[in-house]
Symmetry: none
Subunit: 209 residues, 4 copies
Amino acid sequence: MGKITGKEKTNELPEKVKLLYGAVLLLFEEGAEISDITVSDITRRAGIGKGTAYDYFDSKEDLIACSIIYQMQQIIEKVTVRMEGVESFRERVDNMLDWVEGGFQERACFNRFMHLLTDQSCLGQRIRQKIEVKSMEECLPMVFFYRLAQDGISRGEIRKDLPLDYVACALYSRMVSYMTFLYMNSLRVKEAASIRPHILRGILDEFCI
Amino acid sequence: MGKITGKEKTNELPEKVKLLYGAVLLLFEEGAEISDITVSDITRRAGIGKGTAYDYFDSKEDLIACSIIYQMQQIIEKVTVRMEGVESFRERVDNMLDWVEGGFQERACFNRFMHLLTDQSCLGQRIRQKIEVKSMEECLPMVFFYRLAQDGISRGEIRKDLPLDYVACALYSRMVSYMTFLYMNSLRVKEAASIRPHILRGILDEFCI
Amino acid sequence: MGKITGKEKTNELPEKVKLLYGAVLLLFEEGAEISDITVSDITRRAGIGKGTAYDYFDSKEDLIACSIIYQMQQIIEKVTVRMEGVESFRERVDNMLDWVEGGFQERACFNRFMHLLTDQSCLGQRIRQKIEVKSMEECLPMVFFYRLAQDGISRGEIRKDLPLDYVACALYSRMVSYMTFLYMNSLRVKEAASIRPHILRGILDEFCI
Amino acid sequence: MGKITGKEKTNELPEKVKLLYGAVLLLFEEGAEISDITVSDITRRAGIGKGTAYDYFDSKEDLIACSIIYQMQQIIEKVTVRMEGVESFRERVDNMLDWVEGGFQERACFNRFMHLLTDQSCLGQRIRQKIEVKSMEECLPMVFFYRLAQDGISRGEIRKDLPLDYVACALYSRMVSYMTFLYMNSLRVKEAASIRPHILRGILDEFCI
DNA sequence: GATGAATGAGGGTTCATTCAT
DNA sequence: AATGAATGAACCCTCATTCAT
């Protein structure tokens, strides 16, 4: 049987694979650290046999990598849809910050994904490889920010003298840092949420006409 | 013999502990992922017996946590000294970006530290605990950015209507995002370095008078 | 898969567990000391993988504890059946002394069990706990002696003015001391077997009408 | 330097060796299991360096073996002296039972010694060897019971038709079983102390004229 | 296809013993 | 003589992966 590659559409996913993906997500929610998750953990949550996981994936790394990529695609898609109902750049940024504050579960998955993109783990390499090789940029948050920036520019809301790359990166870094502050407060920031207005204002001041 | 707490000054560190710290740093440089590093790896690099590591540390986690905290303290101290020779806020930010571009080894350590501050691993918890309990904020990069912001404000270079917390956080997030782009290029930013002038300009535009 | 508790009947024991129990008994026969037995020793003798032992037991202590309890249950059961074919109290005691002299292997297990009931080891605690908690008195030799005493009293062979507790304890202590003399001769008793008639006579004189 | 053999008289023992012996006894009192005691435990309690223990003993086993033998000699000597002030056999037995009930610390050491005489451990072998080879029967409890029996016979208090060996063994086994019941009550004997009068009566009935 | 019992390599940790000071 | 830092063999236990059913 052909193995899962991570490129499957939701409706192409076998039932068991969906169960596995759900189990991984559940473990993330519960605060499990990726390197501590075992195959038994996953299959037990999924309610299926351990061997079955190996019918669909070559290794634990593959299973988790595909699971994370799938989740990220879902997240990006969801946020994109959400944005489509919003008109102005300003409101979109505001909406994005709402999302960051709201989705604990998605933040947990997002945070792990961000780490994997810059770590040296076997799993991180696998994920970067999959993204690279299989043109699955859809799972990359940057794609979303490029769209956000592009839209803002074409609608005339964003200054045209800034390179698209920089605007996208800057939006992305603002979001990531806000998310990080929300994620943990050991960084000595008294109240993470109190800096939100400044983040919003900073973005508008720098990029908007 | 008392165990190492992580609060020791460099000249108070036993010879073997220095060797262990050096070995951990070496492994980071070589790209080893933290959760994959074994005690045997470390002591082999350090050229000492495996049991010796346990004479100084209670566990592998303790050893790596202390090692990282030590490295971060060294990095912060080094960058702080480096800043002292520089006058204006603008030049300091520039200088900091130089540092980010220059030090591969330090970036490797810094990146791992950043992940640990927001992950769910046993080691991450240990590190946050150590920082919390033993008032070792000196190892936290945020401390550096608070100083940078404070200095800029008291020298009249930074707008006084922005809260200190926000300025420090914003400087920090700019630095981290630049570092992230340098660290890996899977985010689809063609040339990370090309966005540097924009990062600098963005900082100056937002915060300077 | 549920772990073994030690309460299983013989025919409920999985094949691998029987192999493990057999291996422990074999090691006892070979004179291995309990605290020196390793999990590798046991699984090697059992001819199964090391990890398999942990599929059935939570720890080495659990494995050995269950194994010993099982052996003791078997021994008590065997001796009990043996007694059932014997009529008088006198012949039963004689028969018991025969058994003590005969079974080297069972004596080895019995001796270890007796030590565990009064030592301070982790394994000893585990065994006492298991016996206490799970109403598995069946493995306790005292149970056998209570029955022996009770039967003797109800058949009118034993004096009725002695408390049951004392009779059972006294029978037990006679048996243990004979066993101890047989087990080792460092106590400076020239020929352990030569005292057997006196032990039998002492018992009959004290308890029988 | 010549190593300690275990035959030294108290006044011949080097100061450090006395400290080591005291530390081992202390650990017994605290309920430590012999196989769990480490050399570090002992030397830490003794307040001396770890290497020093190896100046006096060849191995950990030697150290503990000598320590136990020494303690047992002290105990036997002490009980013997105690008996000398008592006239009749009956009172001596009573006195012995008092001693059994009273000395928790000595009972702890005695119990361990009894186990070692019949176990298969490296330490047990060492102890039996030392006793065998170096004619140090003085540490054996049986010696005491031989004396007790002998005295009783020569004073005309004990029946002369019983072999000395049996009387000594019987006295010994009565004492050990009482001690065992006191040591732990998991054997399902409601109140160990309640059987004391029966033990005393049993002894007097069987052996006394 | 699906399962989960079985495996065994590999990791963290302990501790008896040594030896330079 | 006395020390205790250093060592590394050996142990318990985990878990990714396989394969017979």
